[in-house]
Symmetry: C2
Subunit: 343 residues, 2 copies
């Protein structure tokens, strides 16, 4: 357990070292390194050369403290392991890359308390903005956000009141739309399979919208099955088996996400069920990953990339819109698992 991380004992380099090595003041070095102010070409080159050969890396901690500016943007999301948030991040990075701003990611695991802690940590670094998933937060979190004096964008969901601004889709509407499509296709004995997590508000809202639309035409869910944790594909399989065993008359399976939906689809195909004739299926999210499946699952894409982009634009002050809430509209992709033509 020996730890001589540096061969040479010399402390870490500062502007002063570069300044001495190049024979100009620290201020001039600072100007060169940031590309600010007027510096003559010869000095610039000399300083750059010195910085490079010394291997100087500026200390942003000191820089940020002095300038009261931080190029960090906090991005707080529930999870990294379901493909949807990485895609949001891609959108965020894409836009931020041109602005000198840098995303810093925090993960909450769908826990409001953890979200509060992560947010506190982030704000303690005084970022230039915060992007966070969902509209539901602890009171303390909401207070911190309001106090922070920086742009805040709540993403994914717009069914509620944002602290500052929001970019997302209406999950209630998404659920309703899917229900309407299913009803129009003639399915009547519909079951729901999805997450149990009480803090997955968006899945909850989709289900609410879905049931709303069902009840409008006098229908109700025939069965429902919940899960948490584990391999989504496998869970989808198991849940589907459970539902079909318990309620053999079910003719449509609505999943809270594409992954468990895909598991269910594989199960149905494996069992030789007639999809979408005897039974239909639909998920939510438009996961590109699944494009290789023999059948395309009906789904609605959640505009993840676009949400990330728009959110980043708001933070970067590049947003076109002057409204505080940006609603995006997911498109229903019927795939191969909903009957075409009504009845």
């Amino acid at each position: 357990m020996s730890k001589p991380y540096t061969a040479d004992i010399r402390r870490t380099l500062t502007l002063r070292d570069v300044s001495e090595a190049s024979g100009v003041s620290e201020m001039t070095v600072s100007r060169v390194l940031r590309g600010r102010g007027d510096v003559s070409e010869p000095t610039r080159l000399r300083v750059q050369e010195a910085a490079r050969t010394l291997g100087y890396v500026p200390n942003r901690i000191a820089g940020a403290l002095a300038s009261q500016r931080v190029n960090l943007v906090g991005v707080i999301i529930p999870s990294l392991s379901n493909m949807v948030f990485p895609e949001v991040l891609t959108g965020v990075s894409e836009v931020l890359d041109d602005t000198g701003l840098q995303p810093v990611v925090g993960v909450t695991n769908y826990s409001p308390e953890r979200e509060e802690r992560v947010l506190y940590e982030m704000l303690s670094w005084r970022p230039s903005g915060v992007i966070l998933a969902g509209l539901e937060h602890t009171d303390a979190a909401r207070a911190m956000l309001a106090q922070a004096g920086i742009p805040v964008v709540e993403i994914m969901d717009i069914d509620g009141t944002p602290v500052d601004s929001a970019v997302g889709i209406s999950h209630r509407r998404a659920g309703r739309q899917m229900a309407e499509a299913i009803i129009a296709a003639g399915y009547r004995n519909i079951a729901f399979l999805g997450t149990m997590m009480p803090d997955d508000h968006r899945a909850r809202k989709r289900l609410e919208g879905f049931e709303d639309a069902l009840s409008k035409v006098g229908l109700a869910l025939v069965d429902r099955e919940f899960y948490s944790g584990g391999s989504a594909l496998l869970k989808g399989r198991e849940m589907t088996e459970a539902v079909l065993t318990r309620s053999p008359n079910v003719d449509f399976l609505y999943y809270s996400n594409d992954m468990i939906g895909a598991g269910g689809l594989l199960y149905c195909l494996h069992k030789g069920l007639d999809v979408p004739g005897r039974i239909g299926l639909a998920g939510f999210n438009g996961v590109e990953l699944l494009d290789g499946l023999p059948f395309k699952l009906a789904t609605m894409d959640a505009c993840r990339l676009e949400i990330g982009r728009r959110a980043a634009e708001v933070i970067a002050g590049k947003s076109q819109s002057d409204s505080k809430v940006t609603e995006l509209f997911p498109t229903l992709q019927p795939g191969d698992t909903i009957r075409q033509g009504s009845l």
Copy 2:
């Protein structure tokens, strides 16, 4: 585009505000908020109360500058979109959670230049340690790491010389082992399907080890097919079709990762090929996500969670081992896609 981010115009709070509100010195407030030093119970409570009602969030930038300590650990990985790195991150977080250290993630998209930039950015925040994927870096990156004077852990791979320390598996050995298993099962006409990315050194090393083992018994790859980008499942399908069309006598498909392997498997099953009799398949990684597939793909798990944990332990100074290189040993999971019993 109005932006009144704070209702009240007052500047952001500092220790002084809390100090005034609670009637003690800034130093005492600082002590209370960090839980350091002796502070009497009554003062502690008074200060905490004041801080809470004001909604004070400490400024770590100032704190870090003054104390020369930063609770951040840089984690630099190639990608977030293939499930393997999120799992590493989970391992890292798990261990770091108990230490007050916080991971900060950077993504390189398998580009050495981007890695260099991301590293530079991270080091400019003077983190307490860096974890980064792979042993291959630009000279500048290597120099920065050596200069930084902090623990550096290179993860995933141990086939090479680390800057400081390394935690991972031998991908050469992994490739070799898989080849040996395939040969032992009697397959002889073997094709490789995988990433083309010249900077995915670990996939490259696996292939090298694989071919090594083949040539030891006088065999060579019958065909090979490369891809980049796109949905892995779909690519797996397409590549498999291409190979089987071009080289109908192939009896084994070795994929550089499980995702394209799964695509290939679905294709073979769809075509009604006898798996693993007529044709065998194997991937790499042990992706839990795929557990729901009707057939289990042969694979080797890459010890991702464990790598994350061990790396974090090294950074946190909790590592048991006193060697600079920690080799983990993946286990071969034959699944349902390699014939059992030789020949």
